[in-house]
């Protein structure tokens, strides 16, 4: 077997026992790695109906066949589990040396299950697994805990850790390594529920490559292409370059999606911040793009700035003070909070407070210090934070009074910075995606922003375009490569099949890979169905269906419920699901679901 070790390691932190789980070629070829293999592992290992925060809920660090190769952006891993935020499958990707060191332990995935008696670090090498006391690091930020472990145990260790929010089981807590975050879906809370502060990896095992020279040649070519115009935006300015552009096209969600333009956008733009607060540019491990743009606020704290964290902590909360937004972003990193869900939940609470639905007169749109206070309370589950740590869906269920109608989430996951009324392919993508409201598993905004279709309409053509982006994401998140490379491929499936073939020795074709994409998408849906998903979960909040947006052109953007229904029905039909959105027959590897 090339590119894989053909096994996963299951570590039960209750007693430190381990089990090697064989992974056959059929399973690996069908699910590749990363998000795809993670879906299979979770389906196999999670007891049906398991509480996401119960010891029995497995959490998997999943590598891929490309990890450890010289292919640019391949040092990525997926963290996969049943989510405490959505109650459904979630996978979160991160890029760092953890991926390489983790795979060098000799496993294609590391699965953590059980619950330790006390705060614990899990050390995994290619020879053994050791659990050590983490009481000294409990309460630290992920970065501090990572540094402490490496200081004490040696710099060969790569350490993925949780912050205080994960320890407090905030339902959108992150897992971090080297400043990179497996951000969405609350996987940090899953690790925290197991009393695991960190997972440290180190190893010397190497996989073989079926065609080493071929891989090297492709790596050289891909690296060269990664310097081209398709990645210029990421290299030069980073994803924050979206902010002003989205504002110009009424796609920048503002004040809890009440409007789609923000009067303070220029103050938060990369064009502004790059000249005044940029302190560094970095690359992930094994990456030639270098998209990381590090900014410092007036307090000197540095933060890796992306469009999503600035959108969520800035316009979405009505905050235009760049220092407040940078401080809030840094605070999320310290606490270990997903910035999108944190900003989304707080924005919902701000609207509740302004409507008098919750007793929090201090919490107002545009108030930066209030935003920081809310983050602190969430991280410690104190005060209003006890409510907000549950995420906007659960919080709205508690508050009632119609607040669910403006809780901007899908399946419990707060919405990213893409206004669905003015991006209607994306509206469909957000509604039906297995992970919930998400821009990485459905990149349907690409279809809306292509200029090829009316972004204010939603037709069968929009649905097909959304499906195409969902399929591409399924493969790229399973191989795994960085999505910022997607623009350099002219014939993606064929080129990806070539990459995989040279690594694994399998005669994979582009057509097979397209089938693999569909299989992975449906496998996630099948898992969700098993865990209680209902057709009502494929939907958008009332706000988007009831309230029109007026564009500067004078046109009105509406998304009537009937149109969304038509798009979802078309999606089910195109995906060959039944009328209720259920997979008719999904082979997940070992079982067939309804």
């Amino acid at each position: 077997m090339h590119g894989y070790f053909g096994r996963a390691l299951v570590v039960d932190v209750t007693d430190g026992s381990t089990t090697a789980l064989p992974l056959g070629e059929d399973v690996l070829r069908a699910h590749l790695g990363g998000a795809g293999l993670g879906a299979w592992l979770t389906t196999e290992l999670a007891p049906p109906g398991v509480d996401p925060l119960a010891p029995e809920n497995p959490l998997s660090f999943v590598f891929s066949p490309l990890v450890g190769t010289p292919l640019t952006t391949s040092a990525k891993f997926a963290v996969v589990a049943k989510s405490p935020l959505t109650g459904l499958l979630t996978d979160a990707l991160a890029s760092s040396h953890f991926a390489i060191a983790g795979k060098f332990t000799g496993y294609d995935a590391l699965v953590i299950t059980g619950r330790a008696e006390r705060p614990t670090h899990v050390f995994i090498t290619d020879e053994d697994v050791t659990l050590t006391d983490a009481s000294g690091e409990w309460g630290m930020s992920a970065a501090d805990a990572e540094a402490a472990v490496r200081e004490r145990s040696g710099r060969r260790w790569r350490v993925a850790a949780i912050g205080p929010a994960g320890e407090a089981e905030v339902r959108y807590a992150t897992i971090s390594h080297d400043g990179r975050h497996a951000g969405r879906g609350g996987l940090g809370a899953v690790l925290g529920s197991k009393n695991v502060k960190s997972v440290a990896v180190s190893g010397r095992k190497r996989v073989t490559l079926a065609d080493k020279d071929g891989v090297l040649a492709l790596a050289k070519d891909l690296r060269q292409r990664s310097f081209g115009p398709a990645t210029e935006k990421y290299r030069e300015l980073g994803t924050l370059a979206n902010l002003l552009a989205f504002n110009a096209i009424s796609t920048l969600p503002t004040r809890n999606f009440q409007t789609a333009t923000f009067e303070g956008a220029a103050l938060l733009s990369t064009e502004e911040l790059a000249s005044s607060r940029s302190v560094a540019k970095n690359s992930c491990a094994s990456c030639s793009i270098g998209c990381e743009h590090i900014y410092a606020g007036k307090d000197g704290k540095k933060s890796r700035v992306e469009y999503e964290n600035v959108f969520a902590l800035g316009p979405l909360c009505g905050v235009s003070d760049a220092d407040d937004v940078l401080a809030a972003s840094a605070r999320c990193d310290e606490l270990g909070l997903d910035t999108i869900s944190a900003g989304g939940t707080i924005a919902w609470a701000m609207e509740c407070a302004e409507r008098g639905l919750i007793d929090a007169p201090w919490l107002r749109f545009g108030d930066g210090p209030a935003l920081l206070r809310a983050l602190d309370e969430i991280g410690s589950r104190t005060g209003l934070g006890a409510l907000l740590a549950e995420g906007s869906r659960r919080a709205a269920e508690q508050v009632g009074q119609g607040s669910a109608g403006f809780a901007a989430h899908v399946k419990g996951m707060e919405m990213p910075g893409y206004e669905p009324r003015t991006l209607q392919s994306m509206a469909l993508g957000l509604a039906v995606n297995a992970r919930g409201a998400d821009h990485n598993r459905s990149g349907a905004y690409e279809a809306d922003l292509s200029g090829d279709r009316d972004r204010l309409a939603g037709t069968a053509d929009h649905v097909r375009a959304a499906i195409a982006t969902e399929d591409r994401a399924a493969v790229i998140d399973s191989m795994i490569l960085c999505k910022f490379l997607r623009g350099v491929f002219t014939d993606p499936y064929v080129e990806w099949a070539d990459l995989l073939s040279r690594v694994t020795g399998w005669d994979i074709t582009g057509t097979e890979l397209q089938e693999t994409a569909r299989r992975i998408v449906l496998a996630k849906r099948a898992f969700n169905l098993r865990e209680g998903w209902t057709p009502d979960d494929d939907w958008l909040p009332d706000r988007f269906l009831d309230t029109p947006l007026t564009l500067p052109s004078g046109r009105t953007a509406t998304l009537p419920a009937a149109r969304l229904r038509d798009m979802i029905d078309t999606y089910y039909e195109e995906r060959r699901l039944d009328a209720q959105g259920r997979p008719l027959l999904v082979a997940t590897g070992t079982e067939t679901t309804p």
Partner: protein, 275 residues
């Protein structure tokens, strides 16, 4: 004119491309072009639907019949349509919207009138007017009787007249076209030459992301450009597929021949916008 009006050059594009582009920007539904038998048309936006007029020499009423029937069949909101000729170099989206607003503001309500007829400088303007698509059978009936003038149709239906005061009560229209030049047509070569000599509309250009930092400069810039492509040229951008544009925050455009109007703001963004 000595040449087909549709193909007349208009600031690097054609008059027909310009007029259809203006209408396209003003309405939610599709835009139809009705051509005479055998008529060759200049290049149009791919969204434009071309309909064939089966009979020649019947005048604008025949085109009206074909266009209204097509609109009734295809359009998202099939109850009303804006109808115009191709020789209107100064047609403005605000004018189109003002005429269509004459049917009432509730798109779900039954229109109280069958046609909205502007009267400008004392002249009725049936070829810059609004019609209910349900009029198609009546138009065909009148054609069958040899009644070939729009006046015959207007005599048979409920008409809301919009005189200059009524039109300019629309603040958006009054701001951009106070002289109501939207109805000025070009019938003679001299008309066309005079229209062509006018300066291109003044528009504001914004560049974002690497388009601003890549030597282009930040902040708004005022230029005179009749099309997106020309506006891009003027700020040093190659509108070559790697760049897209949105006019007044509306649709994302990749077609450099899309017409611009005075007061427009054009946002140029990278084609890879998004996460």
């Amino acid at each position: 004119m000595g040449t087909a009006k549709a193909a007349l050059e208009w600031h690097g594009s054609t008059l027909l491309r310009h007029v259809t582009g203006v209408v396209q920007r003003a309405v939610d539904g599709p835009v139809f072009v009705v051509r005479a038998p055998g008529q060759e048309l200049p290049e149009l936006d791919r969204e434009i639907i071309v309909c064939d007029d089966p009979r020649e020499g019947m005048g604008p009423m025949q085109g009206l019949a074909v266009g209204l029937r097509a609109a009734a069949e295809h359009a998202a909101r099939p109850d009303v349509a804006f109808v115009c000729s191709t020789d209107l170099p100064f047609l403005h989206t605000a004018f189109v919207r003002a005429v269509l607003a004459g049917f009432g503001s509730d798109p779900g309500a039954e229109p109280e009138v069958d046609a909205v007829l502007p009267i400008v400088r004392g002249f009725r303007q049936p070829l810059t007017a609004g019609y209910r698509t349900a009029l198609a059978p009546l138009v065909e009936e009148l054609l069958g009787k040899g009644q070939l003038r729009p006046a015959h149709l207007l005599a048979e239906c409920r008409v809301r007249v919009l005189d200059e005061d009524a039109l300019l009560a629309d603040r958006a229209l009054a701001a951009v076209d106070p002289e109501l030049e939207a109805v000025v047509n070009v019938n003679e070569p001299a008309d066309y030459e005079a229209a062509r000599r006018r300066p291109e509309p003044e528009v504001i250009v914004e560049r974002y992301g690497v388009l601003a930092t890549r030597g282009g400069g930040r902040g708004p810039r005022v230029v005179r450009a009749a099309t997106i492509g020309h506006a891009a040229d003027l700020v040093g951008l190659a509108f070559d597929g790697h760049i897209l544009a949105a006019v007044n925050g509306d649709q994302i455009r990749s077609d450099g021949t899309l017409p611009l109007q005075a007061g427009d703001t054009v946002a140029f963004i990278s084609a890879d916008a998004g996460g």
